[in-house]
Amino acid sequence: MFRYLILIGMLLCLAACADSSNENGGKTLVSVWAHSGQAAEREVLQTQIARFNSQQQAIQARLTLLPEGTYNGQVQASALADDMPCVLEFDGPYVYNYVWQGKLIPLDDFLTPALRRELLPSLMVQGNYRHRQYTVATFDSGLGLYARKSLLTKIGVRIPQGPDSAWSVAEFNAILQGLRKFDVDGQVLDMKLNYSGEWFAYGFSPVLQSAGGDLIDRSEHRSANGVLNGAAAVEAMSQLQSWIRGGYVDPNLDDAAFTQGRVALTWAGHWEYPRYNKAFGKDLLVLPLPDFGRGMRTGQGSWNWGITSSCKRPGEAWRFLAFLLRPEEVAAMTHANGAVPATRIAIARSPLYKAGGPLHLYARQLADGYSVPRPQTPAYPIISSAFEQAFRDIQNGGEVQAALDRAVAVIDRDIGDNKGYPPVMMHRDEARTDD
């Protein structure tokens, strides 16, 4: 028994002490955690790490990839055990919660005025919390509809030319009905119902905003009542429900509804462009989401980078991030994942996103204020999860008002339980940047 105890003790120590050294052959070790995304994206990041390590001698970046679907849970688990990397990637809107927990340091001292001007305004807004900038990113996202031109012309509809000429809901309903006449199973729209997690808040909260509702009252971030379950939100969600329950939406279990030609329209993001372009080429249209009444709104935000408060050498960590933000590195990444490049130079150079490019719509949506950042509050994870549940319930035929009321109750109770998320840890962060 004693040997057993000693063994455990030794192992505990081994486990605890193993990662404590930050030096690696005279080089500073910078640990980097990122999500394991699509193969192409993953490979680019790996080559970027290798390139960074070979271009200079002082810093050694070491990459750990974690699966995307469980990424946030894993980071939270590690955070609790104080087992954090230096450089952390995370899904954009989670930044506020990480900051509130005291896990991230502000990047204001590192961001040069030139770089601030260079980065997309959507990114600067999203990474800002209580007047400090906590994130940078090498790309942003685009959300819209993909359609097949040949099918739309068959039913003779107006093709929107930009974010300001989106279809109205009435037009969209007529289009769904029109397309249905030419469809075997009557399912003409793909809303990526096979996705899980963040997709619902990302992909469908713009619908609420376009209708005049939102996920939460943004003036104080204290309550979702009357906003998420208000008349506008209920009407918008009822509209989505009528499409799904009316049999217009393909369950898309194989994620091939669009590529196999089972549907004419798909509600999706920039990441599908390479696949869809390969399948349909010139026949593929990239269109804005429908306008639910108060002007079209779309999503924004993607994976962002931050520096953790447990990082002993934030300066070195920043050098790695600055490297990723170089135009050629941004171009390499966005070339691989098809996302909107984060810097204006990179956009201008991108054949996809420059004026006249097939995805220029996305760049315009982000630059001209059509995109809405997800709520800038540490309560965001609970908002997202409550909205996902509400969406699922509505999708499955539940009563819309009741489903949204439940989500509001969950969100408001969470905010109450957290005393409105007072900024208790923020001073400690600021002190840390000085060492």
Partner: protein, 277 residues
């Protein structure tokens, strides 16, 4: 005689149909793992769902490209081997003390062990995670092993077996002057092979698919076990069902080998643990 033969035939036919229904999902999985992605779903409603038309290995190749399969497999084997191996010793000793030795507190402890059987691991995963995080213990092999070595179910199975073992053997040995230790190691263990096989298989099955705990406790590919790869395949769109099925086949293969090897012992062990309680 004729009727009997006919009855026999019908019996086998019905049994075969039942067995086929039973393994249809497994057949579907194995066959699907050799199909091009587009056919996995589209052929589900046809006989092709369970009958292969051609065998393509690209899903298997994908698995090796997308995850370090060999490394994960080795990690899983090591972790499960340790859980099972250490568990056999620790739980058998405890069960023997509960079943055969005379000491105060025995009955109380027996009730406690049985009560612990009820607690699902998922229910205590968070506090355990807090506890070990406070020690900074995470992200290695042993944090995936130690919490599962002492196991109320295994103790219960051993306990049931030892209760059912004829006392005469042990009493004879002890009349001959053997102490408790000698009796246990020289008489009881050699007679308990079936129950060891049963407990080994049951605990192995229990932990081979363990997901929540390593998800919380590990971040390095170097120590992560196989089930976590399901997250890689399943949560990242587009879901490649063919890859998942191929991965599944490869994940179950080692279990199948172990089960078939130990099956005779296992069945005998089940007989003796299930009977008494």
């Amino acid at each position: 005689m004729h009727r009997k033969r006919l009855w026999n035939f019908v019996n086998y036919l019905l049994l075969s149909i039942a067995a086929l229904l039973f393994i249809a999902p497994i057949l579907f999985m194995v066959v699907g793992s050799f199909k091009p992605e587009a056919q996995v779903l589209s052929e589900m409603g046809t006989l092709r769902a369970v009958l292969p038309s051609e065998i393509k290995l690209h899903n298997y190749r994908d698995v090796f490209v997308r995850i370090p399969f060999g490394r994960y497999l080795w990690n899983s084997v090591l972790i499960n081997g340790l859980i099972v191996g250490l568990g056999l010793i620790v739980n058998a000793l405890a069960a023997y003390a509960l079943a055969r030795l005379q000491w105060r507190g025995r009955d109380t402890l027996l009730v406690v062990v049985l009560a612990l059987l009820i607690i699902p691991f998922e229910a205590i995963a968070v506090p355990l995670f807090y506890q070990l995080s406070a020690l900074g213990w995470r992200n290695d092999y042993l944090v995936q092993v130690f919490p599962f070595v002492a196991n109320p179910l295994a103790i219960y199975l051993f306990y049931s077996f030892f209760l059912g073992l004829p006392r005469e053997l042990e009493e004879a040995a002890r009349v001959d002057g053997a102490g408790i230790l000698r009796t246990f190691f020289a008489i009881v263990i050699p007679n308990a092979k079936p129950v060891f096989a049963t407990v080994a298989i049951v605990t192995f099955l229990l932990y081979w698919g363990m997901y929540l705990w390593p998800l919380l406790m590990t971040v390095d590919d170097g120590v992560r076990p196989l089930p976590l790869a399901i997250a890689t395949f399943y949560t990242l769109p587009p879901v490649q069902w063919g890859d998942i099925l191929a991965f599944g086949v490869m994940m179950v293969l080692p279990v199948l080998v172990i089960f078939i090897t130990f099956q005779p012992w296992f069945v005998r062990g089940v007989a003796t643990t299930g009977l008494k309680g």
